[in-house]
């Protein structure tokens, strides 16, 4: 890329994935994500967006090709990766606090440190007053906050977000989008984000990758040249709408065949 010696955040080289003898889910994917870059994958259903995230996480093994995260195999890089799932995926029998602490607990962090970490995370995502509530007592937006807090608890260098806000109303979604940008600017992780919403993709990303289905492949890429410090006002700017229009057009092309 820029010829520097730095190892990219993620390197996906000629990766294909098929399940059994079925048709390919992904075909020859090449994608490099720079450290601290925010890349969004967007595309119609069946284009393999979620599969790419699972490949990066090492939860799925590619049929051919290679994946490197920070120069390591996904399995070895795992402790630096956090995954945020589409539904909040909170353990219903645990309180908010206990859910946020899950990752640290599984990694056997001492309980004194655990308490401190959880307290600061509750502060960070604004959940202090529901710390002892159970997931079913929370709204969808609140649950997603818990899920994000849990992902941040293990201080990831890479965040993989699989349509995290798909089930939320637009208000909560916009608010959480701003929250994500704030957290990222404070913590400088790399992010790969999957969504169906073009506006969300443009608002969040440095770069948008449009995928086409059957088999899943990269159709187009867009660099989002908006100011780094994005506020909700950006959503009304002309540049914003121009990019949204271009990405939307590209998305429609993927369905034309």
């Amino acid at each position: 890329m820029n010829g520097g010696s730095a190892v990219p955040g993620i390197e996906i080289a000629n990766v294909s994935k098929r399940y059994g003898n079925a048709h390919a889910v992904l075909e020859s994917i090449d994608l490099i994500v720079a450290k601290q870059e925010f890349v969004t994958l967007i595309g119609p259903s069946g284009c393999g967006k979620s599969t790419i995230l699972k490949l990066i996480a090492g939860l799925v093994v590619p049929t051919s090709g290679a994946i490197r995260v920070d120069g390591m195999t996904p399995q070895n890089a795992r402790e630096t990766i956090s995954f945020v799932f589409q539904d909040a995926t909170l353990l219903p029998w645990r309180t908010v606090k206990q859910n946020i602490g899950l990752g640290l607990e599984l990694e056997r962090v001492a309980s004194a440190r655990l308490e401190i970490e959880i307290a600061s995370l509750l502060e960070l995502v604004g959940l202090k007053n529901v710390a002892k509530s159970y997931p079913r007592e929370l709204s969808g937006g609140m649950r997603m906050r818990v899920s994000i807090a849990r992902a941040l608890a293990t201080s990831p260098r890479l965040m993989l977000l699989d349509e995290p806000f798909a089930a939320l109303d637009e208000m909560s979604r916009d608010r959480l989008n701003e929250e994500i940008l704030r957290l990222r600017s404070e913590q400088n992780w790399t992010a790969v984000f999957v969504t169906h919403s073009v506006a969300e993709a443009v608002f969040l990303s440095d770069r948008i990758v449009v995928l086409a289905p059957n088999p899943g492949r990269i159709h187009a890429e867009f660099r989002v040249e908006l100011p780094a410090a994005r506020t909700s006002a950006v959503r009304n700017s002309e540049e914003f709408n121009t990019i949204v229009a271009r990405v939307s057009r590209s998305l429609r092309e993927t369905l034309r065949k």
Partner: protein
């Protein structure tokens, strides 16, 4: 309201019972009057209570043994589909074996008395616990498993922090069914292996004895006691279910939810 309605139905049934006695002139050894049953309860209260206590002990023992054994088996079943396919048919065997046919064997192996009856209660009540707990252990959403894998969770962590807590609501469904079966199992068991001493045994034993003596009023009293025992077990289990699950699980928020 539910309780009042149920009591009203009960009162109506008692009245109907009395009417049947008057209209058809049924002899008391075939169908005693409600009043005679009540009198029998009063007259032989100590021995009734004694029988009830014996059966309660056997049922409770059988149920607890069922839970322990059933959960252990389910934990084995949850390990792999291969193990399940291989062993599951044998739990069906437990469910379908005619207990009346094996009771003499159990009697021969364990001897008459409380241990034999407890064993029979266990055999009759264990399969719903195995089936429901296994289902709960293996029906964990894939995303949860992925979440745990992202943190390099060990097999033990997956089991104790994910699968087992996830299975608790299903386990309670199993226990609820098993609680009734354990009482039935204990009474059935007592018909064969009720007592090592003449004249003293649980409800099943006493039912057999009362019927042989044509003490139909006392027989009814015993049946009533058996029903009370079954209900108590069910309510106890439902209370425990509510106690452990109401904070986080939808199904257990209020036991009287059907009202």
């Amino acid at each position: 309201m539910t309780v009042l309605n149920a009591l009203a139905v009960f009162a109506a049934l008692v009245v109907l019972w009395q009417i049947i006695l008057w209209v058809f002139r049924v002899p008391p050894f075939m169908l005693p009057s409600p009043w005679a049953v009540l009198r029998a309860v009063g007259a032989r209260f100590p021995s009734l209570l004694n029988s009830l206590a014996i059966t309660a002990e056997e049922s409770a023992g059988g149920l607890v043994a069922s839970i322990v054994f059933g959960v252990l088996v389910a934990l084995v079943f949850a390990q792999s589909r291969w193990v399940r396919n291989m062993l599951y048919p044998y739990t069906l065997l437990l469910q379908t074996v005619p207990i009346i046919a094996v009771a003499p064997l159990i009697l021969m192996w364990v001897g008459a008395g409380i241990p034999a009856v407890t064993l029979i209660a266990l055999i009759i009540s264990v399969s719903p616990i195995i089936a429901n707990t296994t289902q709960g252990l293996i029906s964990v959403d894939e995303n949860f498993v992925h979440l745990f894998l992202m943190h390099d969770a060990s097999r033990m962590q997956l089991l104790f922090k994910l699968r087992l807590p996830h299975a608790v609501p299903s386990l309670f469904v199993g226990i609820r069914i098993a609680s009734g079966l354990a009482v039935i199992g204990a009474i059935t068991g007592e018909l064969f292996a009720g007592s090592s001493r003449v004249g003293e045994g649980g409800l099943g034993y006493s039912i057999l004895y009362a019927s042989s003596q044509l003490q139909t009023d006392y027989l009814f009293a015993l049946v009533l006691a058996a029903t009370v025992l079954g209900f108590s077990f069910l309510f106890l289990v439902m209370f425990l279910e509510w106690y452990f699950l109401h904070r986080w699980h939808e199904s257990a928020r209020a036991p009287e939810a059907e009202a």
